[in-house]
């Protein structure tokens, strides 16, 4: 746990969101799913990327919330929004139609190509852990121009190859089956240890930045495959800039927003 600008404790969730939000600079439309991605996109819009348009997985476009939303379906996202669209329009026309620049996903497992597992740990028929499943993850991966992944825990169990199950495949797996997805798949993975990046089809994830105080060796040791490392690995800016200012714009205390479920 690090400390925020005003001395408040910064949880891992907040740190991940802040780093993720920075990556959104210069992107245009973002698709925000359930959980951490919502926080990251909200933060981005309120801080480093005010021009991005966030489309929520609930169907809200152009939200102007009176309070910082707790979920993608929070009623404050709907009241005063520019548009609320149905699921067929959202997934069919907006996402599959190719209007999304960046999709945000979480996962229990990720492999070196950015394929994601959100279904089961263990065997499908008798899983050790039943995870929430695809949600819109399969669609985000297939249709967003690029995908950012936020992983809460960077361990060899979550960064593993092969996956126990591939729920949302990146373009390499899709192409191997003869199906051509629209986007590049995962291009950023943000964890509590650092940031991995991937160029697109045919490329593996590479370590490009570490969190303050974390070494390249630590990240490689926490990764379940032989992780590639960029020539110049940078260090993530430690202080979450303006995140507290953004929370101050609303009446919701940061602590409640960033609480782990």
């Amino acid at each position: 746990m690090t400390m925020g600008a005003q001395g408040t404790p910064v949880t891992s969730s907040e740190l991940l969101s802040v780093v993720a939000s920075r990556e959104l600079v210069a992107r245009r439309t973002v698709f925000a799913g359930i959980g951490l991605p919502t926080l990251a996109t909200e933060l981005a819009q309120l801080t480093v990327a005010p021009e991005i348009e966030v489309v929520y997985e609930s169907g809200v476009c152009g939200a102007h919330p009176s309070h910082l939303p707790e979920t993608i379906a929070d009623s404050v996202l709907i009241t005063g929004a520019e548009a609320v669209i149905s699921m067929p329009t959202l997934f069919g026309c907006v996402l599959q139609g190719g209007h999304i620049d960046v999709g945000f996903l979480g996962a229990a497992q990720i492999d070196r190509w950015g394929n994601l597992n959100t279904s089961v740990i263990g065997e499908w028929d008798s899983p050790a852990v039943r995870l929430p499943g695809s949600g819109g993850g399969v669609e985000v991966m297939a249709n967003a121009r690029e995908v950012f992944v936020v992983m809460r825990r960077h361990t060899p169990h979550s960064f593993t190859d092969p996956l126990d199950f591939c729920t949302a495949p990146g373009p390499d797996r899709a192409l191997a089956e003869g199906i051509r997805p629209l986007g590049a798949g995962v291009t950023r993975v943000i964890t509590e240890l650092g940031v991995l990046a991937r160029e697109g089809v045919g490329h593996e994830l590479r370590l490009v930045a570490v969190q303050p105080g974390v070494t390249v060796g630590q990240v490689r040791a926490a990764t379940g495959w032989d992780l590639q490392v960029a020539d110049a690995v940078t260090t993530v800016e430690p202080r979450p800039p303006r995140s507290c200012a953004c929370c101050a714009r609303t009446s919701t205390p940061a602590a409640s927003i960033f609480a782990e479920p």
């Binding site: 067929p88 399969v138 669609e139 051509r180």
Partner: protein, 324 residues
């Protein structure tokens, strides 16, 4: 059956009075072994209908629902469900579902057949079902393991050349045609013309896909209210078989403009559902121990509901015009 058990003709032009009690509607349209769709994407979740299904002790249901959340976990705990078709099984972002996980991970107390789709896969199943199509194509699943464990995810070859001039394959999903779809909405008239606002999800398609449809509403309104804004009617009367008036029937989810989401309950459920004994006690007290949803609402108490109250934010009217 009392009079409210079946729709009866009235003098209303072109319409049938379909208002029934929840008890009568579930008795009439939900049977053991049925495929029951409950839709509402985080908003307007038909919880009260799920509770009545529990009260009436339905068994062996196939439940179809994009986001299987608290109400599904409760129906699982009550032993109503033998098969689940869904694209997201979790307690929203508040945690996981204890009963669901025990059923799938440990067959405790009995196995649960589970068919996993993606969100858009579910949407396309409703689209196919509502339009009487043999399948609906979608640009998902290429390279996924889901088709390996779900043999209903299949491929067809497009009869048009792909962007590279070569034949193009695409995944398709089959239609879903529930025996009954149940949705919750803000308001309807007695004939079933149903108006919703805020998040509207896939409810209209889920209704059209079903053989029968029950619409549960916060308010029954005069025909004139509905008819002042016909574009707001997302489900026309011809697709509806029962209208159930059940204020606060979407709790702990929300009804835009009526009451807010009960986030504390979502968090509490994650704890309750970890413990099979606690959840049975909860069901005994709040579902099996209440005669109907009105009693559940009263038991929570007005102070509780005051905490979920919302202020007013009215839409600006639009002008439909009239011939002079």
């Amino acid at each position: 059956m009392d009079r409210t058990d079946r729709p009866h003709r009235t003098g209303r032009t072109g319409g049938t009075d379909k208002v029934m009690t929840m008890k009568a509607a579930v008795a009439a349209f939900v049977h053991d072994g049925d495929t029951v769709c409950l839709e509402g994407f985080t908003h307007l979740i038909p919880t009260a209908a799920g509770h009545e299904i529990i009260r009436q002790g339905r068994r062996d249901l196939t439940v179809v629902r994009m986001t299987a959340d608290i109400v599904v976990d409760q129906m699982l705990a009550a032993g109503c469900v033998s098969r689940l078709v869904s694209s997201f099984v979790g307690n929203s972002s508040a945690g996981s579902l204890g009963n669901l996980r025990r059923r799938i991970e440990s067959s405790d107390p009995e196995p649960l057949a589970f068919e996993e789709y993606s969100h858009y896969g579910m949407v396309c199943r409703y689209l196919a079902g509502s339009q009487r199509l043999p399948f609906h194509p979608l640009r998902s699943y290429g390279g996924s393991d889901l088709p390996r464990v779900n043999s209903d995810l299949r491929k067809v070859t497009s009869p048009y050349p792909g962007p590279d001039g070569e034949p193009e394959q695409i995944y398709v999903v089959p239609p879903v045609n529930p025996d009954v779809t149940i949705i919750h909405a803000q308001r309807a008239d007695r004939g079933g013309n149903t108006q919703m606002w805020g998040l509207t999800g896939v409810q209209a398609e889920a209704v059209y896909a079903a053989r029968k449809a029950i619409v549960v509403v916060e308010e029954l309104v005069d025909d004139e209210v509905v008819r002042s804004d016909p574009n707001r009617t997302l489900v026309p009367a011809h697709a509806v078989h029962a209208v159930v008036v059940c204020p606060r029937g979407a709790h702990p989810s929300f009804a835009q403009g009526y009451y807010d989401r009960d986030n504390a309950f979502y968090r509490a459920w994650s704890a309750i559902s970890q413990d099979p004994d606690r959840i049975q006690a909860w069901l005994d007290e709040w579902v099996r121990g209440t005669a109907d949803h009105a009693e559940y609402v009263a038991k929570l108490g007005e102070e509780y509901w005051a905490g979920l109250a919302v202020g007013e934010a009215l839409s600006e009217p639009v002008d439909y015009g009239r011939r002079l």
